[in-house]
Structures are given as structure tokens and as C-alpha cells.
């Protein structure tokens, strides 16, 4: 394939990854920002979202629903279910650990195993697909100034699908909604107040415990939503959370811990560079380079690309 079309294709793929990552990582970032804890089980909530989407669509398909209706139902129900599970975990475990950062890491590793294995037992080891509500292949044109002047043609292989474009749009809309929620709604205000100063928030009568449970649930729900969006492209599998967790960790750190805007920009950078680096190198080498690049960014800019130096 020619270089130009190839690059466009890689960027489109990168944009899909970026969209999903941005959603998932903003959940992680929200939890870190407000609660100051690292949730290692975040990837499992993503996985649960995907699995729940399969369960919901499977159940509704049994009732005779159409693909689009089933998918919408899944997009609503799966995050709610996952949110409830996460909030329960917060109340029963994290709260009793007093949100001690180190202990939360271990406890969420435990939670990770529990969720993963429970899924293996209940759902099985297979990767299962969910039908996309719509999925047309869209061949993309390419423009070129050649000997015959300006030309438009359809290069071999340059295409995407309507569903992939939908994922990108959906993520943008959801992230805007999240931003509005955080800045405009009372609940968002309460969350940000708790983030700034927990003790002060308590003094002002904010029910911090409830806020924490909600934030943890909301963070998980964002991951689950990312899982629902990706499952028509990638299928639900009980081990899918691991790599997603790594990537969203990277995104959150690069974006500057707890900064929502930084997280989104970092997701775009990571997603895009993952796509673009793959143009120039063989797959494994591309992964090595991308990984080292992230590490070195952190080494030489430890506060993240957009974080403010704290000391």
C-alpha cells in the first residue's frame, strides 16, 4: 500500500483505540483524582462491561430483539451492573482499608483475580462476539496530484467500518458529557470538592463515603462502557482486561494524574502513535518502540505531559 493511504488507515485505527482508551482511562483518572487510589482491577471492569454486553444481547436476542435494540440495552445495562459491583466492592473492601494506597493496590489485585476467575467459571474461556448494531465496510478514497493532475481513487485496502466511526463519535460525545457533568452538575461539583480536600468536604457536610462509592462505581462504569463499545469489534474474553489496564495506566500517567483533559489528550497520543508507529516497523518492533517511548517520556517528564509540577 502507498504511504499516504497507509498512514490514513493507521490513524483511523489509532483513533478507534484512542476513543476506547480515553473512556476507560478517564474512569481510572477519575478514581485516582478523587480517591487517590490506583485501581488495578480497572481492566476487569472493562472486561465485565464487554461480557455483560454479551450476556444482555444474548438474553434479548433470545426474546427476539433486533441487533440495534439489543446493543442499546447492553450499553445502558452493562455499565449499570458493573457500577453496582464496583460500588459494592468499594463499600465492603476499599472503605475498610481506609483507602490506604498500598493496601488498595493489593486488594484490587485480589479483586482482579476474583472477577477474572468468576468470569471464567460463569462465562467460560471463549472469546464471544456481539453483533454490531450496524457494520458497513466503507471504502475510503485517496487524493493525489499525479501526472494527470488531481485524482481521486480508492486504494486497495483503505477502508473502515461504519461501526468504528460510530465508536469514535460516541466516545467524543460521552467525554463531553462527562466534562459537562463534572463542571456543571451538583454531583460533579461535590466530587471535585472532595478531590480538592477531603476533610474540608466532610466539614461542609458532604457525605464523603457515599461520594467515594459513587466515584468508584462511576469509574468502573466508564470502563464498562468502553468494554461495551469495543465488544462488537473485539469480542468479550475473560483475559481481555490485562492489556487494556496497562494501556490506560500509561494514558493516565502521561496525561498527568487526575487531570481529565490531560487523560483525553494522552489517549489520543497513545492511540495514534500506536497506529502510526505500526506503519514504520514490524509489529513486535513497533510495540517495543512504543513501550520504550512511553517509558522515556515519563523518565524525562515525570509529571506527565500535561501535569503541573507539584514540587
Amino acid at each position: 500500500m502507498d504511504f499516504g493511504p497507509y498512514l490514513l488507515l493507521a490513524m483511523l485505527e489509532g483513533a478507534v483505540l484512542a476513543a476506547v482508551l480515553a473512556l476507560m482511562a478517564s474512569g481510572l483518572s477519575l478514581v485516582f483524582g478523587v480517591m487517590r487510589v490506583v485501581n488495578v482491577a480497572h481492566g476487569e471492569f472493562y472486561m465485565l462491561g464487554a461480557v455483560m454486553a454479551w450476556v444482555v444481547t444474548q438474553f434479548l436476542a433470545g426474546l427476539g430483539g433486533g441487533a440495534a435494540v439489543n446493543f442499546i440495552a447492553a450499553a445502558v445495562l452493562a455499565p449499570l451492573i458493573v457500577c453496582a459491583i464496583a460500588a459494592a466492592a468499594d463499600v465492603t473492601i476499599l472503605k475498610r482499608l481506609d483507602y490506604d494506597p498500598e493496601r488498595v493496590i493489593v486488594a484490587t489485585i485480589g479483586l482482579l483475580y476474583v472477577i477474572q476467575q468468576a468470569t471464567l467459571m460463569g462465562y467460560g474461556p471463549d472469546a464471544r462476539p456481539v453483533v454490531a448494531p450496524f457494520n458497513q465496510r466503507i471504502a475510503l478514497p485517496w487524493f493525489e496530484f499525479g501526472e494527470n493532475g488531481f485524482q481521486m481513487y480508492y486504494p486497495w485496502g483503505l477502508s473502515t467500518t461504519s461501526y468504528k466511526l460510530f465508536v469514535i463519535v460516541a466516545a467524543v460525545v460521552l467525554l463531553f458529557a462527562l466534562r459537562l457533568f463534572m463542571t456543571r452538575s451538583r454531583a460533579g461539583l461535590v466530587m471535585r470538592a472532595t478531590q480538592l480536600d477531603r476533610d474540608m468536604a466532610t466539614a461542609f457536610g458532604i457525605p464523603v463515603e457515599k461520594v467515594y462509592a459513587l466515584v468508584f462505581g462511576a469509574g468502573a462504569a466508564l470502563a464498562a462502557l468502553a468494554g461495551v463499545l469495543i465488544v462488537p469489534i473485539q469480542q468479550a474474553h475473560y483475559l481481555m482486561g490485562g492489556d487494556a489496564l496497562l494501556l490506560s495506566f500509561i494514558v493516565v500517567i502521561i496525561g498527568g494524574l487526575g487531570s481529565l483533559a490531560g487523560t483525553v489528550v494522552a489517549a489520543v497520543i497513545i492511540g495514534m502513535s500506536d497506529g502510526i508507529i505500526s506503519v514504520f516497523f514490524t509489529p513486535t518492533l513497533a510495540k517495543i518502540i512504543a513501550t520504550l517511548a512511553v517509558a522515556l517520556v515519563l523518565v524525562f517528564r515525570p509529571q506527565g505531559l500535561f501535569g503541573v509540577k507539584t514540587r
Partner: protein
């Protein structure tokens, strides 16, 4: 010695499928109603023979582990119904190896030292085999692997590790190469995992294709952490005639689906190893585009029209429907191309133990020697996948390979390559090594 003794002893060679089924059902039914001690009164020792089964119950190989276990349980039910081994009942001791080499080595220790197993068996993923095999050698525990890796025949392992029930990738590839270049096209691009048996494909495909007059124009290795593939497809050279794909793990469905979306209506010929879609329903959304493409199959997933009765008996015993899925759950698709190896390996263990007069763990070496002298294994109830030839020197069996075409969401065998055409020169002589 050219024939294994068990063939003459099995009572399942019946003229009709119904007859075979009846025999099997009757045997199993009768056996099940009798108390354990009563079933084997003729045996000198009624203590069961224990076969340690390393199962990929968790980790990346979990889908395989489930079907390996079902097949093994079915094979042992048959063997026990027919009187066990040397008149003794046979018991499966299952341990999860987590698809992890370290755990697999520990599991072998457990078999040898804790649960007093007579032999160890199972294990598909090649890194698990390579990690565990040295322990088998040190424990002097016969280790029958069902992995299809070339590690056994390459001479990397040891005298205690054998692969008599499933063919290896190198022979599979040499069987496929003439079909690829002869029928599909000369210029081949291969896409393979940068792990697991991907290396066997990488190392062996190009020579085989060149020998068959073709050329591998690109090799695209996919790292294990990858979940999306479209961005790599442009690396496929434009003049490729055939895409050769072999993928593994949970992302394979994505892989195949995205390949379809990438090419759209103008795809080259596509040939895949069914490993890419083991345990996956071919009617899954997104796989429509595979119609008209070809697959290697170790053993046909779909019941073929001309299937002999012993194949039907095998499928019924394991619980497969016509589509190669579980009879109790049509969405639970089997790993048909590999799991037959468990069935055959267990029959070979039986044959080997009976030939060696196996009594106790002290006879383990005799068992290995008895298997090493085996050669022809005729197709039949013990070998439903087809007639094979075992090479005692390399500890590797050679058997027929199937090429199937996807038609209407089903795989139909279009060509069967007999074992004779899959043989390559020996790379090792394990029989010259010490125990």
C-alpha cells in the same frame, strides 16, 4: 513389529455405526452399573492405572483444555468399558497447568511424587511442553504430549517425552505447501503469532513453499499483546496470491474479521490453519467473508458425508454434533483439529502398556521402549483421525492432513494428504540416548 497390539483386541470394529454405538453404550452402561471392584476381577491388581493429565484449565489455552479433558474422559470411558489396561481400570488425574511452563513442571512433579501417576499426558501449548519436559526426563516419567509442536522431533527434548498421537507443525506444513503453490498461488504472505507455535510456522513454511516452487513474500509476526490488526494488513504486499494465517488466542476472531473488512470484495486466496478458529463458531458475525477460503484441519470439525463408522463412534463418544459442537450446547464449539490426539494418545498408552506388560511405575522405561518400537497405526476406533506412522527415533507420529474449504459456513474436506507425503528426514534419534 508393525502393528500395535491393541488394534486386534478392540471390540469396536462393527459394520454399522449403530452397531458401534450400541457396543459402546452397552459396554459403558454395563461398566457403570457394576461396582468398581467387580469390573476388574480378572486383573492381577485391581489398583487403577493413573494417568496424570496436565490441563490448560486457565490461562490462554483454557478453551483447548476443556475439550482435551472431555475427549480424554470419553477415551478412558471406552477403554475402561473394554476392560481397562491389562485388566486394570484407568483413572485420569487432572491438574490445571494454567498454560504456564513453571506450573506445568510443578504439575509433573505432583503426578510423579504426590499422586503416584504412572504416566503424564496432555498439554498443548508448546512453551508449556518445553518448560515441563526437562522435569519429565529428570523424574523419569513418561510424558505423552498432544501439542503438535516440532519441539519433540527437533531433538530439543528427551527420551521420556513422546508425541505419538498428533502430528507436528513441520509435517503439517510440508503437506500443505504443494496445495498452496499448486492450487492457490505462488506468492505467499504469512501472518503468524510471535509466540507459541508461530515459530514452527515461521521456520518451516518458507523452505516448504520454496521446495514446492513458490515464494514467501512477507512474514508478519503479531505480538501477543495485540488486539487490533487492521493497521498491519497494509504490510501485505500487493502482489500476494495467498495469505497464510495461523493465529491463536482470544483475538483470533478479531483478526479474521478485520482481515475481511480490510480486503472487502477483492481478497487474495486465503489459507489458514484452523488454529485461528478452533473453538470458534464459523457462523459468528464477521466471519461471512471466510466463505470460499481454505483451512488446514488436523481432523475435520464437521461430520463429513463419507465418514467411516469409527469416526462417528468417536464423535458420539466425545459428544460432538454434526457441526463439531457439543451435543448439549451448539454454541460450544470443539477444538476438533487437536483434541483427537488425546483420544489416540490414550489408546497408544494402553497399547504400549499392554505390549510392555506394564505392572507398576518400575516398568515406566519398558513402556517408553514399547512405544518406541511401534510403527503403523491403522485407522480405526483407536485412531479415528486416520492411518499413521510413528517414528520411534524421533518420538513423533506422522498422519494424514486435511484441507477443507469453507462453504456455507461449514468446512468440507477437499483434499486429504496421506501420511506418506508428510514425512521429513529425522533430526534426532532419541533411542540412542540414555534413560
Amino acid at each position: 513389529m508393525t502393528e500395535i497390539p491393541s488394534k486386534t483386541k478392540t471390540g469396536l470394529i462393527s459394520p454399522t455405526r449403530r452397531g458401534a454405538l450400541k457396543t459402546l453404550a452397552a459396554g459403558a452402561g454395563a461398566a457403570a452399573t457394576m461396582p468398581l471392584w467387580a469390573r476388574y476381577t480378572s486383573a492381577q491388581s485391581a489398583a487403577p492405572i493413573k494417568i496424570g493429565f496436565g490441563k490448560h484449565a486457565t490461562g490462554i489455552g483454557a478453551a483447548y483444555g476443556r475439550w482435551y479433558e472431555r475427549t480424554s474422559v470419553a477415551a478412558l470411558a471406552k477403554i475402561n468399558a473394554e476392560g481397562g489396561i491389562n485388566g486394570r481400570p484407568v483413572e485420569l488425574v487432572t491438574e490445571d497447568d494454567g498454560t504456564d511452563p513453571r506450573r506445568a513442571a510443578e504439575v509433573l512433579e505432583k503426578f510423579a511424587n504426590q499422586s503416584d501417576c504412572d504416566v503424564a499426558f496432555g498439554t498443548l501449548f508448546s512453551h508449556v511442553v518445553v518448560g515441563a519436559a526437562p522435569r519429565a526426563g529428570e523424574l523419569k516419567l513418561p510424558y505423552f504430549v498432544v501439542s503438535e509442536g516440532h519441539h519433540v522431533a527437533s531433538g530439543m527434548l528427551n527420551r521420556w517425552t513422546l508425541q505419538p498421537g498428533i502430528t507436528d507443525v513441520k509435517s503439517q506444513i510440508s503437506a500443505m505447501a504443494p496445495f498452496l503453490t499448486g492450487t492457490l498461488g505462488k506468492k505467499v504472505t504469512m501472518i503468524y503469532p510471535d509466540y507459541a507455535f508461530g515459530y514452527d510456522h515461521r521456520d518451516n513454511l518458507a523452505p516448504a513453499i520454496e521446495a514446492a516452487g513458490g515464494e514467501v513474500v512477507a512474514k508478519i509476526a503479531i505480538p501477543p499483546t495485540e488486539t487490533s490488526f487492521t493497521k498491519y494488513f497494509p504490510q501485505i504486499p500487493r502482489d500476494t496470491d495467498v495469505i497464510y494465517h495461523v493465529m491463536i488466542g482470544p483475538a483470533v476472531l478479531t483478526f479474521v474479521k478485520e482481515m475481511g473488512e480490510f480486503f472487502g470484495p477483492s481478497r487474495p486466496e486465503i489459507f489458514g490453519f484452523i488454529d485461528s478458529l478452533e473453538a470458534t463458531d464459523l457462523t459468528s458475525p464477521g466471519l461471512e467473508f471466510l466463505d470460499g477460503t481454505y483451512f488446514w484441519e488436523g481432523n475435520p470439525r464437521y461430520l463429513q458425508a463419507d465418514a467411516p463408522d469409527y469416526v462417528k463412534a468417536y464423535r458420539d463418544a466425545v459428544g460432538l454434533d454434526e457441526n463439531g459442537a457439543s451435543v448439549s450446547d451448539p454454541s460450544d464449539v470443539s477444538t476438533s483439529a487437536h483434541m483427537f490426539g488425546c483420544w489416540e494418545t490414550l489408546h497408544i498408552i494402553k497399547a504400549g502398556m499392554e505390549a510392555a506388560g506394564y505392572q507398576s511405575t518400575a516398568d515406566r522405561q519398558k513402556l517408553v521402549e514399547a512405544v518406541e518400537v511401534m510403527s503403523m497405526m491403522e485407522a480405526g476406533p483407536a485412531h479415528p483421525q486416520g492411518t499413521k506412522m510413528f517414528n520411534g527415533k524421533t518420538h513423533q507420529v506422522f498422519g494424514p492432513q486435511y484441507i477443507s474449504k469453507v462453504e456455507g459456513g461449514k468446512l468440507s474436506v477437499v483434499k486429504t494428504v496421506p501420511y506418506e507425503e508428510t514425512i521429513y528426514p529425522d533430526e534426532v534419534d532419541y533411542t540412542s540416548m540414555s534413560f
